[in-house]
């Protein structure tokens, strides 16, 4: 019964405001919609993501102060990268997604959200991407020479062991 001091922003208002913001930046190719259980999702090109995050962070009406999570997923044709942003003032999360082909390079957003420095290193080692614009572009969890573990093409078990 402890009431939250933050009022959750209406989702349609958020969609409208983010659309106005991104149109103002001159970003043409993006989609914004409510996707099932995930909330509001912005899908954009990989090269536009840094500009989008910077605008969302520095906006005065829509300050997304925090990058809560950054990770990738191998969705069998490409690697999908997810940024989960949070606005404390409006008590709402926004998911920004972009796609990267395999063996591509990933450009760091740590200068926008410092939270990204470590997860980016993990993302790039786990999906075999090369990390650009990062002060310490080393592997985070595993040693040199190991395959990118979270790719679907990396098998952790032999065929006989897989019980299906």
């Amino acid at each position: 019964m402890g009431a939250s001091p933050y009022v959750q922003m209406d989702k349609q208002v958020l969609i409208d405001q983010v659309s106005i913001l991104l149109d103002g930046l001159g970003i043409g190719a993006y989609q914004i919609a409510e996707e099932g259980k995930l909330g509001i999702v912005v899908r954009a090109d990989a090269e536009d993501v840094a500009r989008i995050l910077k605008a969302l962070r520095s906006s005065t009406e829509l300050p997304f102060e925090q990058l809560i999570d950054l990770f990738g997923a191998d969705v069998r044709e490409r690697i999908e990268i997810t940024y989960r942003l949070r606005s404390l003032m409006h008590n709402i999360d926004l998911v920004v997604k972009c796609d990267l082909p395999y063996e591509d390079s990933y450009s760091s957003v740590g200068h926008i959200y410092a939270a990204a420095w470590l997860p980016e290193r993990e993302l790039c080692e786990m999906f075999g991407l090369s990390l650009l614009n990062h002060p310490n572009p080393k592997r985070l969890l595993t040693t040199e020479g190991l395959p990118p573990f979270l790719r679907k093409s990396t098998a952790i078990r032999t065929k006989e062991e897989i019980w299906d």
């Binding site: 402890g2 259980k37 809560i68 989960r84 959200y113």
Partner: protein
């Protein structure tokens, strides 16, 4: 007092104690010994080698604080801390560049506990995920299990019985208290207080007994599953908790008096390792780190899950963001957790503790994210489903991975001894960072 007097001492067969007592006699006789006399030449106290090895010049004025600081300039020194250190739950290796005792830079090397939990999860059915996430944050496993269950329930649209929701809240709080005690004791050790560790372990044992009674395990609970919990509240567990609630306030006061009220501890921790509000937001801080830096945010209140919207509790914030505030913030949280536990025991609704969930759960295609307030911050489990009985991808959002970047950024400029306490104050759990 020079070379000759000490040689006299050895030649007459005097012992070390004779030598020292003679030295005292001189001082008792008020013989004025000037600083130049003390440091002139090489003082052979008699029990060391008689002569300095040839070719080695013994520095003059070695015991004096130089007027010119440049005389005491040292080379930068690389120090390896870890990977085994008591202030880290798990294995953390930090390579520090030191100038004297001052840290110039530090880099954390993690991954010693990497087991590939996220990859293994792609080969597990949904009800088997709880065993994996237990082993990520092995000090407070219930919260991670709850996050997994919430994500799967969102996707599969499972309705959880009210009693199961209340039991999840109860066990989360029990585990939160156990985890906070596990952290406060060793942080006392880091800052030089031995006794508090024993008292904290004593209290933690009670909560571990409750967890063992309810789940059968002390750390790897496997208790919260999609749509249910695996066991109902037992009379013994309720009795243990009721007994502790009677003495809880007094015990917290004792912990306060024995550690936090100590001036030595306050001097060691206040104003050190300060994380400002802006830094905390920038580095993605959640949980007690964010609250100690003055941001009033708690997922249990602001994004209520399970039955948390039915409890009365306060969100404890502090303003300074230093080590002391992070400690006090969590002691306050223990008090609030005890309040929630009491409300849980008093108002637990009757009914089943499990929904009817198929043995092989196939969830519809899509994505969902379950977020909970763990003892260390926000744990988020993000699940991609492709419609089969296993997740296409499971992401475990580890709060202490983000804390690690904060601690790294705080290291430059700290003293070495403060850095150990400072890193301890973020409560890393490396099972979680490395997964």
């Amino acid at each position: 007092m020079g070379l000759n007097s000490s040689q006299d001492a050895t030649s007459t067969g005097s012992t070390i104690s004779d030598y020292i007592s003679r030295d005292h006699e001189i001082i008792d006789d008020h013989e004025v010994v000037s600083q130049e006399d003390l440091t002139e030449g090489y003082i052979n106290p008699g029990w060391l080698s008689p002569e300095p090895p040839s070719g080695i010049t013994v520095p003059r004025n070695v015991n004096r604080i130089a007027d010119d600081p440049l005389q005491l300039c040292t080379d930068h020194y690389l120090l390896n801390v870890g990977p085994q250190h008591p202030s880290t739950h798990g294995a953390l290796r930090v390579v520090m560049e030191l100038d004297g005792e001052r840290i110039m830079s530090g880099e954390a090397h993690v991954g010693q506990l990497h087991r590939g939990i996220e990859k293994l999860a792609e080969h597990r059915r949904y009800h088997q995920l709880a065993t994996l996430v237990d082993r990520a944050d092995y000090v407070s496993g219930i919260t991670a299990e709850t996050a997994t269950a919430l994500a799967v329930e969102q996707l599969a649209e499972i309705e959880v019985p009210a009693r199961a929701q209340w039991l999840r809240c109860l066990m989360s709080e029990v585990n939160r208290v156990a985890s906070h005690y596990m952290w406060m004791g060793p942080t006392g050790l880091d800052s030089g207080a031995m006794g508090i560790f024993l008292y904290m372990q004593h209290d933690r044992e009670i909560f571990l007994d409750v967890l063992e009674e309810m789940t059968g395990q002390r750390l790897m609970f496997n208790y919260v599953r999609p749509g249910k919990v695996t066991g109902d509240l037992t009379p013994r567990a309720e009795q243990l908790l009721r007994d502790y609630l009677k003495i809880g306030t007094q015990r917290l006061q004792e912990h306060w008096d024995s550690l936090f009220a100590s001036e030595l501890f306050q001097v060691r921790t206040q104003g050190i390792g300060v994380l400002t509000r802006e830094q905390a937001l920038d580095y993605g801080a959640t949980g007690f780190v964010l609250r100690a830096s003055g941001v009033d945010w708690d997922l249990r209140r602001d994004r209520p899950y399970d039955a948390y919207n039915q409890f009365e509790f306060d969100v404890m914030t502090r303003t300074n963001g230093d080590i002391f505030d992070r400690m006090v913030c969590r002691l306050d949280e223990v008090r609030q957790s005890l309040r929630i536990i009491e409300q849980c025991l008093d108002g637990m609704p009757e009914g089943p503790v499990a929904a009817r969930v198929p043995k092989v759960l196939r969830v519809p295609e899509g994505e969902a994210c379950g977020i909970v307030e763990s003892a260390r911050g926000e744990v988020g489990i993000h699940i991609y489903s492709d419609g089969s009985d296993r997740p296409l991808r499971m992401r475990y959002r580890p709060p202490t991975l983000y804390s690690l970047a904060m601690a790294e950024s705080l290291l430059p400029g700290m003293m070495l001894a403060d850095a150990i306490v400072g890193m301890g104050s973020f409560d890393f759990c490396f099972g979680e960072v490395d997964r």
